[in-house]
Amino acid sequence: MIDDLHDLASAATARIEAASSLDDLRALEADLLGKKGRLAEVKKQLGGLEPDERRAVGQQVNDVRTTIETAVGAKRAELEGEARRARLEAERLDLTELGPFRGRGHLHLVTQTQERLEDVFVGLGFTVSEGPEVETDWYNFEALNIPPSHPARGMWDTLYVDAGAPQTVLLRTHTSPVQIRVMQRQEPPIYSVMPGRVYRRDTADASHMPVFHQIEGLVVDRGISFADLAGTLEAFTSAYFGGSIHSRLRPSYFPFTEPSAEYDINCVFCEGRGCRTCGQTGWLELGGCGMVHPNVLAAVGLDSETWSGFAFGFGIDRLALMRHGVDDIRELFTNDVRFLSEF
């Protein structure tokens, strides 16, 4: 009987090894180990044996069962592995075999630049304020210390609209009227920047558009000085352009500030060494700034003995062009998706 069991075991392992599918293996397992299987038949005969022999044969039956189970287990793992490999192979996908798809869209270059600027100023403790693009003469000029017939009006070529009395309603020529609105809306202290779209009666060329964008800054508080203006612009300069770029202020004239200054930065192309873009000067003119003129504070009812402030402003579009080396401002407004999606 022991010999039978040996034969059974070796025949079984051979058959298991020969199984070609999981189904075969399952049938084989039932045939060998099931309730009506070969081993079960042997087990039934155990009752007729002597106790000693029964113990030995019983032990042998258990050994054979273990051997078969182990062989089935190994074979199952092998077959399952093969099946999984076959299935995965059938699923093979070439990741570069890619059809057209809609990728991300793109923020306009001016928006990207404006948001960067806003983020730097928010980091410096400024809020962001807005105002209308169609304005009255009072907000755009008079409140800014530019009375009617003031020669300085020639600094801005103004587009007027057909509304209200003639030449009283206009497309704002700068973001400065927002300063007036902010000072009317809010008591000092004021720390705010005012980005937005502005209009000039200019023919479009490589560096001019009748519509462009500025960002204006206004601080009004007790004890604000020219040194605060210089320090704030320097902090902005290194935050926005990088630590190697510095600022300088040169005397200038604007009706709404005094003292007034031009705000220059080290040329970002040559870092101040002198190149074609900066005309070998090492500096780029960025915008204007100065201490808020007492007449401007008076226009909104602020006492210039108590409050002082500074203001600054510069173009957004030019910064956008500079960052990406675009040499014609008109590119910004063609709305060609090939251009828009470059950035």
């Binding site: 809609r102 991300r104 869209g105 306009h108 928006t111 806003e118 100023f121 928010v122 980091g123 403790g125 962001v128 807005e130 209308p132 693009e133 169609v134 009255t136 017939s149 020669p151 300085a152 020639g154 587009l159 007027y160 609209v161 057909d162 509304a163 209200g164 009395a165 009283t168 309603v169 202290p189 779209r197 200019d202 009748p210 519509v211 604000i224 000085s225 020219f226 040194a227 605060d228 210089a230 320090g231 704030t232 320097e234 202020l249 040169r250 005397p251 200038s252 004239y253 005094e258 003292p259 007034s260 003129h293 007492p294 002082s308 407004f333 709305n335 060609d336 998706v337 090939r338 828009l340």
Partner: protein, 799 residues
């Protein structure tokens, strides 16, 4: 304003590197726009005499010129100019010379004839703009043949600065003024002119008179008489200075007039005395419609805001401060000159010159405010220069002066503490005084008197300076902006974006994430654009002074501009452009009390090559990103949009009537035709002011149930006239609180469904927060939904 270094040096001993001097000028607010070194590059140019002129055998436009450079040997030159005669002295660029423009002179053949150098025009030597012929030199140089040209002509190396002068610097509109400012910065003494002119002949009294009829127009008017003048060409040095500073030499008297203006900043005018009856001048406002022929031989019609100088018979013979008249113009035959030096009210000249469209060198200076105390000096200087050129002339003794309203020049109280506080830098009273005295400010009190303040008298050439702040600016300027320290405002202030700004960024990010590109069309439209877009209902605001008709209308909607952008892209083979814009629109319907039209912020997206459902999905995604509840679509006609594929976006959440927020759908195909767009274009348009005024952004926490959920599917056959949204609303309403999800998973039209109907298949997911739902729970909810949908709509459950 251009200045020459040599001219500046006549007022102060400037030394050193011209570039560094330029940097000092820039730092004083007189920005150097260009710097040119002159008189360099003349090495190799010599004085030569024309010996013979011969035709070129092979060319008509070149002649052969034999010149002598001192050795008597004729040297053959090919020359393209024909203005010289035998015996003339001319500048010759010898072989090996590198011209100021960089060209190297070599021996070469021109049309078969050798040229051994080049004869030069004024422009080629950078001595002026004249390029009409060879520069013919004064005969006096005949004994200098072969001598270096620069030496023979007395041309010294010089530096020409072009300065940008700000409107608040009337003083810097002159060579002397620039020199004064720069000398103060460099710590050099400034020496004003002190012209000395002997007077002779009959005194002026009784031979000339000035009457100011309108004192607000003219503050001071001074005249002098110069007799026996000879009108001819100016000396070379004077003509050269004028030319370099951008003025054309005309004749000796006019040139001196311009020279004095450039040197002292005092514009002036000369009359031929013999053409001014009785030497009588009257200053008054012009009469409306009065005419005058001006020096440029143009008849100009004046308005009552122009000033004039009139003669005895009240005929205008000059426009005050802007341009003289032709009738009394200096001519070659003029012998006696009536010289006018005046101070005009700056605003009057600004208005007059703007109105006449005449911006002259004179009006630019009067506008900023000339020096009313400088008239005598300027007249003396004028006479001195005339005398230098024409020794026979005489200056009549005495002056005639009339006075009108001059600006009051009260001393300004300057508080030292205020100076320090505004500039953020500690100044003493002594500092203030030390900085300002060299530029002519006069201090009446000892520095830092008892009250820490000083009374400062402003020089008459600083019309701009009238307030303490004006004075503080001068302190800052002369101290140097770069030497004021830098600090940050010390107060604590929180920087942040407003809710609106954050929402706007969210909208942009969502749209960009959905694959849209942000466009930026011009806010201007051509008159027909809105009609073409089907948006003709709202009257637009128009521009009063547009540059072009195509840019004369302000948009009432972003749609027209974006459709143009789609058309542009399609015509450049950029198919399927998906664009959006956030921008302002204006309506002529609503004009505020101050005349300002209603301005609203709009969002518009146009999606080429997709259908209305894409626009609706875009809308839904945006609304979910902004957390705006209660927004629906009413499929009604929207101007410019597709009649059967568009509707209004409305807010139904609030208590009041539904608020219209915009439109969604597709562009009307006939509009697309008008814009030349072939693709289908979906569109979403939202009034952001209205949308973001709604309560939004609230996202309360809803606990997630830990119990299993159960799904049930329902398909209804519904008439096409019933919006799916209505069926959905009924389902939500009737399903009870355990409905946690509802989705339309299939829409079917075809066999098995009645005509003009479709099958809408919904999957409903039920879940309770506190227990596992039983089959009975789901079954009763399902029954309620079926009953409600069938009762509310022409709909029936499909088997």
């Amino acid at each position: 304003m251009k200045v020459l270094l040599s001219w500046l040096r006549e007022f102060a001993p400037f030394e050193g590197d011209p570039v560094e001097l330029g940097e000092q000028m820039s730092d004083l607010g007189m920005a150097v726009e260009s710097l040119d070194v002159l008189g360099g590059g003349l090495d190799g140019i010599v004085v030569a005499r024309v010996l013979a002129l011969r035709p070129h055998p092979n060319a008509d436009k070149i002649q052969l010129v034999d010149v002598d450079t001192g050795d008597g040997e004729p040297l053959q030159i090919c020359c393209g100019a024909f203005n010289m005669a035998v015996g003339d002295l001319v500048p010759l660029a010898t072989l090996g010379t590198v011209m100021p423009g960089g060209m190297a002179i070599e021996r070469r053949k021109m049309r078969g004839e050798w040229s051994n150098g080049m004869l030069c025009s004024g422009r080629e030597l950078e001595l002026g703009d004249d390029h009409s012929g060879i520069l013919v030199l004064p005969p006096a140089l005949a004994d200098r043949l072969g001598a270096p040209f620069a030496e023979a002509m007395g041309i010294e190396a010089d530096v020409l600065y072009d300065l940008e002068i700000n409107p608040n610097r009337p003083d810097a509109m002159s060579v002397a003024g620039v020199a004064r400012d720069l000398a103060a910065r460099m710590g050099l003494p400034f020496t004003p002119l002190s012209p000395a002119v002997p007077e002779g002949g009959a005194a002026i009294a009784g031979r000339a008179s000035v009457t100011i009829h309108d004192p607000e127009l003219c503050g001071r008017f001074l005249v002098r008489i110069l007799e026996g003048v000879q009108v001819g060409d100016s000396p070379e040095w004077l003509a050269r200075r004028l030319t370099l500073l951008g003025m054309r030499p005309i004749n000796s008297i006019v040139d001196i007039s311009n020279y004095v203006m450039l040197e002292l900043g005092q514009p002036n005018h000369t009359y031929d005395l013999d053409k001014v009856p009785g030497g009588e001048l009257h200053v008054r406002w012009a009469r409306e419609g009065e005419t005058i022929r001006t020096l440029d031989d143009t008849v100009r019609t004046l308005r009552s805001t122009d000033g004039v100088i009139a003669d005895r018979s009240d005929h205008a013979i000059g426009i005050a401060g802007v341009m003289g008249g032709a009738s009394t113009e200096i001519s070659a035959s003029t012998r006696n000159v009536l010289l006018e030096m005046a101070w005009w009210a700056p605003m009057a000249i600004a208005i007059s010159s703007a109105q006449l469209g005449l911006r002259s060198e004179a009006s630019m200076r009067f506008e900023r405010g000339a020096d009313p105390e400088g008239l005598e000096l300027a007249a003396q200087r004028f006479a001195e220069l005339v005398a230098a050129g024409a020794p026979t002339s005489t200056l009549a003794a005495g002056t005639v002066v009339a006075e009108g309203d001059l600006p009051s020049r009260e001393a300004i109280r300057v508080r030292t503490e205020r100076v320090s506080a505004l500039l953020g830098h500690p100044f003493t009273g002594e500092d203030v005084r030390r900085l300002l005295e060299p530029i002519g400010f006069v201090f009446d009190q000892a520095a830092d008197g008892v009250d820490g303040e000083q009374l400062v008298r402003i020089p008459s050439f600083r019309f701009d300076t009238t307030t303490e702040t004006d004075v503080i600016e001068e302190v800052a300027r002369h101290h140097g902006y770069s030497r004021i320290g830098r600090r940050m405002p010390s107060g604590v202030h929180a920087g942040r974006l407003s809710e609106r700004q954050r929402d706007r960024r969210t909208i942009r990010q969502v749209l960009v994430g959905l694959g849209l590109d942000e466009a930026m069309p011009m806010p201007f439209l051509a008159p027909g654009d809105l009609d073409r877009a089907g948006l003709g209902e709202i009257p637009p605001v128009t521009i009063a002074n547009p540059l072009a008709a195509e840019e004369s209308v302000l948009r009432t909607s972003l749609r027209a501009g974006l459709l143009k952008a789609i058309a542009y892209n399609e015509s450049h083979r950029n198919e399927g452009a998906q664009l959006f814009e956030i921008g302002k629109v204006w309506s002529g319907h609503r004009i505020g009390p101050d005349g300002v039209p209603d301005e609203r912020e709009q969002l518009c997206a146009v999606l080429a090559g997709v259908d209305a459902h894409d626009a609706v999905r875009t809308l839904r995604t945006l609304l979910s990103a902004l957390a705006v509840p209660g927004i629906g679509i009413e499929q009604v006609a929207v101007p410019g949009l597709h009649p059967t594929r568009a509707g209004e976006v409305v807010a139904t959440g609030g208590d009041g009537p539904p608020v219209r927020l915009g439109a969604v759908g597709e562009i009307d195909p006939s509009v697309l035709d008008d814009f030349g767009i072939a693709a289908r274009v979906a569109c979403l348009e939202l009034d952001l002011d209205a949308l973001l005024a709604l309560p939004h952004g609230e996202r309360p926490y809803a606990p997630i149930s830990r119990y299993p959920s159960s799904d049930t599917d329902l398909a209804f056959e519904v008439a096409d006239t019933v919006p799916a949204a209505d069926v959905e609303a009924t389902i939500r309403h009737s399903a009870g609180p355990r409905l946690v999800d509802l989705r339309l998973f299939d829409v079917y039209r075809g066999p098995g469904v009645a005509a003009a109907h479709r099958s809408l298949a919904y999957r409903l997911r039920f879940q309770a927060p506190d227990r596992t739902l039983t089959d009975e729970d789901v079954a009763s909810a399902r029954a309620a939904v079926i009953a409600a949908v069938e009762a509310t709509h022409p709909a029936r459950l499909r088997a």
